[in-house]
């Protein structure tokens, strides 16, 4: 690719836009996942767990689902 070709600015702007949008999507997925996992860890640290994640005795004591 020649960098002094006519209209090269349009080509570079297109690849720049693609890079920005793709990086934005990747960051969105990574940061969203990290935030959700942190929320679950905080809830579990406060003793709130899904029934399937609790020890068997705790789950029995909790009784059937409402």
């Amino acid at each position: 690719m020649s960098l002094d070709a006519p209209h090269i600015g349009f080509v570079l702007a297109s690849y720049g836009a693609a890079l920005a949008i793709i990086l934005g999507l990747i960051l969105w997925v990574l940061l969203d996942g990290r935030a959700r996992r942190a929320e679950i860890r905080a809830l579990e640290a406060a003793g709130i767990r899904r029934r399937s994640d609790r020890p068997v005795d705790d789950a029995r004591a909790a009784g059937p689902a409402p």
């Binding site: 690719m1 020649s2 070709a5 006519p6 209209h7 090269i8 349009f10 080509v11 702007a13 297109s14 690849y15 836009a17 693609a18 949008i21 793709i22 934005g24 999507l25 990747i26 969105w28 997925v29 990574l30 969203d32 996942g33 959700r36 996992r37 929320e39 679950i40 809830l43 406060a46 709130i48 767990r49 899904r50 399937s52």
Partner: protein, 256 residues
């Protein structure tokens, strides 16, 4: 057990979000590596192949514009299948899939519009024209934004899922309009030259990087969609845990 019932059982197994999380965790690294490899190879050919005798270097815009436009429409088709999954089969992951795909589809549509505009200015002499292909594609972008807004505006997730699914199915009419707009109406946009009866009309010099980049974009979509679905499942788990905590607090406090 017959092959058909085994396939159905395996598909039904995926309805369990925990199994889906385990399976997607195993698949994701492979898809990410494949995406990186395809992007490496695709970009190498996209930036080193010969320029077009008429368009010169601007032909290279095609290698990001066309795959993003394909993906914009493919994402909508994935959402349509998910909408059917929500309304017909009531698959627990169908709404998760549709909701996760919406921002990805909007982003690919925006990229196709921006790169199309950047290609249009030097080739047509205009950033934008209100012709059939461009207008129908712009409507697709507005539909994505509308669906995102609707899906997030409704607090009841079941109602949001059903309403979004109905709107997705209604909006599907725009996909064949986009595809065939270049045949049905006079337009500045060129007609189909890769996926058409009689085979591709593009020389191998341009087809190779185009198909490699299309493969890279498709794998990128798969990776992003799986990742966003995993996040959506975790978001719903957080909401369920919060409800559980609120119920526990009410029970502990007793009646007023």
């Amino acid at each position: 057990m017959s092959d058909t019932s085994l396939t159905i059982r395996r598909f039904a197994d995926l309805a369990n979000p925990t199994r889906f999380l385990a399976l997607s965790a195993r698949l994701l690294p492979w898809i990410c590596w494949l995406t990186a490899a395809l992007f490496g190879l695709g970009l190498f050919y996209a930036l080193t192949s010969a320029g077009d005798y008429q368009q010169g270097e601007t032909v290279r815009i095609m290698y990001v514009h066309v795959p993003s436009a394909w993906l914009a429409m493919m994402t909508y088709m994935v959402m349509t299948l998910s909408a059917l999954g929500t309304l017909v089969w009531r698959h627990p992951l169908a709404d998760v899939s549709a909701r996760a795909a919406m921002p990805i589809g909007a982003a690919f549509t925006a990229l196709a519009l921006v790169t199309g505009s950047l290609w249009g200015k030097p080739m047509w002499g205009a950033w934008w024209v209100w012709d059939a292909r461009l207008t129908s594609f712009f409507i697709l972008f507005l539909m994505y934004l509308g669906l995102i807004a609707l899906n997030r505006a409704l607090e009841d997730p079941t109602r949001a899922a059903r309403l979004s699914a109905i709107l997705i199915l209604l909006g599907f009419i725009n996909i064949p309009i986009i595809k065939f707009s270049v045949d049905w109406w006079n337009t500045l946009h060129q007609p189909a030259s890769v996926l058409r009866m009689g085979g591709s009309a593009i020389d191998g010099e341009f087809l190779r990087p185009l198909l490699l980049m299309a493969g890279a974009f498709t794998c990128l979509f798969l990776a992003l969609h799986l990742g966003a679905m995993r996040n959506e499942i975790l978001r719903r788990r957080v909401a369920a845990l919060r409800r559980q905590a609120a119920r526990g607090a009410l029970t502990a406090g007793g009646p007023a």
